[in-house]
Amino acid sequence: MTRPHGILRAGFPYLTTLGMRRVTNFPTDISFGEDEKLYILMRSEGVATIRIWSVNDMDELTDELEGFSSYGTEDGQFIWPVNILTGPNGDLFVSDEYTNRITRLDNEGNFISKFGEQGSGDGQFDGPTGIAFDPSGNLVVCDSKNHRIQRYTIDGEYLQSFGNFGSSGGELNLPWGIEVDENDDVYVADWGNNRVQVFNNDGDLKNTFGRTGSGDSEFQRPTGISVDSHGDIYVADWGNNRVLQFNKDGDQVWSFRGDATLSKVARNYMLTNAVPNRLRESGRLEDERYIRRPRSVRVDENFRLFIPDYESYRVQVYQKDFIELDETQFAAPLRNPTLEVT
């Protein structure tokens, strides 16, 4: 897909909220399946599982929930899973920063394969976190505690590694999230350095943005990262309880702090619970809208932004509203800001 010359940003309205406590607890990451299906990776201490959910949410809370995988070290189980990705045939790829492996499951949860082992050599991991596919279908992995990025074939054959510990340009400190765009540029959420770094496919630094803080273009432990097909970059800003949106050059254009409303399943649950409804009447209800401790952010092919709202047990969804522009509709970049009236 070719990026448009420019886009008219019409807005980024809130769309909906999915899930609730009991069914989508501690959503760490999500991936997309067919027919509006979502795979929600749920992780907390002692719990690791994948919930199958729908963008259409669920009408009523039921015990007949779809999902698979559990906490453990056997094949197909996870201890500290971080990312989930949908790959060829709808297979799912899950990173686990404790067992130091990448696991491949089919879309019904059956174990297919795994690769990785503890270590700091080629083909080894110390806490793999973010995973992403490159344009060739290889897997790029944040090898977090080794402070580096590694590339593998989809079958786990080692291809490449770059990065080392530090805070200078190109160096990494416990990187968490990763994304690769259609040009094979690699975007890394550099967790410990509170910044994003962009590398080309040889591992050379192309761009860096962000610094420590809570203002514009500032982070408190960036976790997940995604890039849409316009080149816009979305970063989950864990400690600031928000998601920041940057254009392809790394300029912040938007922030998402949360607009949650009651999901369909939550509404129906609350209709049968009188006491919580009374408590909502005297509590500070506004707090309920905000994102809490996001660990991931994902954007689908329809430009819907999915924010797994980790400590609120739900997913908030936004819809990018835009018009693509051609050369006549979008002026050349300005070298300097201007105060001319336009």
Binding site: M20, R21, R22, N25, F26, R43, S44, E45, G46, V47, S70, Y71, I79, W80, Y98, L174, W176, W191, Q220, R221, W238, G239, A260, L262, S263, V265, A266, Y269, M270, N273, V275, P276, L279, R280, S282, G283, R284, L285, D287, E288, R292, R293, D309, Y310, E311, S312, Y313, R314
Partner: protein
């Protein structure tokens, strides 16, 4: 050596959770005893633990997860006395998860203790009186100007500051009137989107602004005034000093007996009380007085049974198993979080952190010990030291060296590596006897056994 190794080890066990061999090496070679105490009472000289790093790995709603995070902090903090004071305040101002099951209030209360524990006792009591967990635990949310609930007012005087015999029933009533309207705003419910914090709220329309008489003084008192008066009382100084003595120096009888049984060391209580009164309740001054006193330095010879928390945190500091986050630290509280919960060693030993049994807290000292808990304690320590690959155990093995034809020296080195541990003559004889049976062929396995035996001794159960 700038300071005495055994004395520093004693200090670090009581003011913190014990020192590793390399920490003892560094402290004793670089600092005098008084300099070490100054560092302990000035925790701001050291970095706070990076909780973003801890919470990157440890997450979850069950209280056991939060107990696990606290254990991790205790084991890895660079501010051991700050963390020990949080535990102390949890002992004397106990609030249990069992009543409310509102997790954030409990975790925030421990944070509160951490933040104020080394400030001023008046500030501690004031923040405690505004703490939603305490307000709910002792029903001050039900203390209205037209319908007083005396629960908090009573315990504030009886258990939290002065002790029985130093106030009247009218003082309780008027203290309670002064705290009317001190409540918290209703937090949102757990469903559908998880817990939200509770926040203190003062409701002026529900506060009794009338004149009150409290401990012989008259005025239109509110909670602030009541606490100001309490902190100026010699009874408060004595009561808190006895708590500190019991927690840091020597096992005393339990609090309900304090009215009738005098302190074991009245001179020490007097010294601490004087420091409290002269400083206006400055906890740093009181703690500095305590740790530099002769009675503290002599207290290593006095029985002080480790609480289950002290025992467990001390062990995991020494084994180094959780020097970085790894799964399973919650298992010290609850062994499974997904399915039927089975209580972990903390609870089996009698201390469910964040869930104390009553408003009196835990009965301490030798009441920690019965045949069941002693067996659990010894078995726990033996098991924790059984893996020679744990970093701390591996360090001990590398430093312990080999037999060298001198079994007694080997025993001495092993005891030193366990925190300059002092053992009874009987234990020492047993260890020496075992060491003499070791041959060089047994190599590390024999030395490892020796370390395990020493750690499994009754002597190790004392702080």
């Amino acid at each position: 050596m700038k300071s005495d190794r055994k004395l520093v080890a004693h200090l670090m066990r009581r003011a913190g959770f014990g020192a590793t061999p390399s920490e003892l090496d560094r402290l004793t070679s670089e600092q005098t005893y008084d300099e070490i105490v100054e560092d302990l009472v000035n925790p701001e000289r050291f970095n706070e633990i990076d909780m973003s790093y801890v919470e990157r790995y440890y997450t979850g709603e069950p209280v056991a997860v939060h107990v696990g995070k606290w254990l991790y902090r205790m084991a890895n903090t660079e501010r051991p006395l700050e963390e020990k004071m949080a535990l102390f305040l949890h002992h004397i101002f106990p609030v249990a998860w069992g009543k409310s099951e509102h997790g954030p209030s409990l975790y925030n209360e421990i944070n509160l203790f951490r933040n104020v524990g080394m400030t001023n006792f008046g500030k501690i009591l004031l923040e405690l009186s505004k703490d939603p967990a305490m307000i709910f635990w002792l029903d001050n949310n039900e203390n209205h100007k037209d319908e007083i609930n005396e629960n908090y007012g009573r315990e504030l005087l009886e258990l939290f500051s002065m002790g029985v015999g130093n106030y009247t029933e009218d003082d309780i009533k008027n203290a309670s009137r002064s705290f009317t309207g001190w409540t918290f705003r209703q937090p949102l419910s757990l469903y559908p989107y998880g817990h939200h914090e509770a926040v203190f709220q003062f409701l002026p329309e529900d506060h009794d602004y009338g004149e009150k008489e409290f401990l012989g003084q008259r005025g239109n008192f509110d909670g602030n005034d009541i606490i100001d008066i309490i902190v100026k009382q010699p009874a408060t100084a004595r009561f808190l000093s006895r708590h500190l003595y019991n927690f840091f120096i020597e096992d005393e009888v339990q609090v309900p007996s304090w009215e009738t049984i005098p302190p074991k060391n009245p001179e020490a209580i007097e010294e601490l009380s004087t420091a409290f009164m002269e400083s206006g309740g400055d906890m740093k001054v009181v703690l500095r007085t305590l740790f530099t006193s002769e009675f503290f330095k002599e207290s290593s010879a006095k029985p002080k049974v480790k609480s289950p928390t002290e025992l467990i945190v001390g062990v995991i500091r020494q084994t180094g198993e959780f020097s970085k986050p790894k799964p399973g630290i919650h298992e010290f509280a609850v062994t499974t979080l997904n399915g039927s919960a089975i209580e972990g060693p903390l609870a089996v030993m009698g201390q469910r952190l964040m869930n104390p049994p009553t408003v009196e807290g835990w009965h301490t000292g030798f009441e920690w010990i019965d045949s069941g808990t002693l067996s659990e304690r010894v078995g726990f320590v033996e098991k924790q030291f059984s893996d020679p690959n744990k970093p701390g155990v591996a360090e001990m093995l590398s430093k312990a060296g080999t037999l060298d034809d001198n079994p007694e020296q080997l025993v001495g080195r092993c005891l030193d590596l366990l925190g300059a541990l002092t053992v009874s003559d009987k234990t020492l004889l047993s260890l020496n006897t075992y060491a003499k049976t070791l041959s060089d062929e047994k190599g590390n396995a024999g030395v490892h056994n020796l370390i395990q035996m020493a750690a499994s001794s009754v002597d190790y159960q004392f702080a």
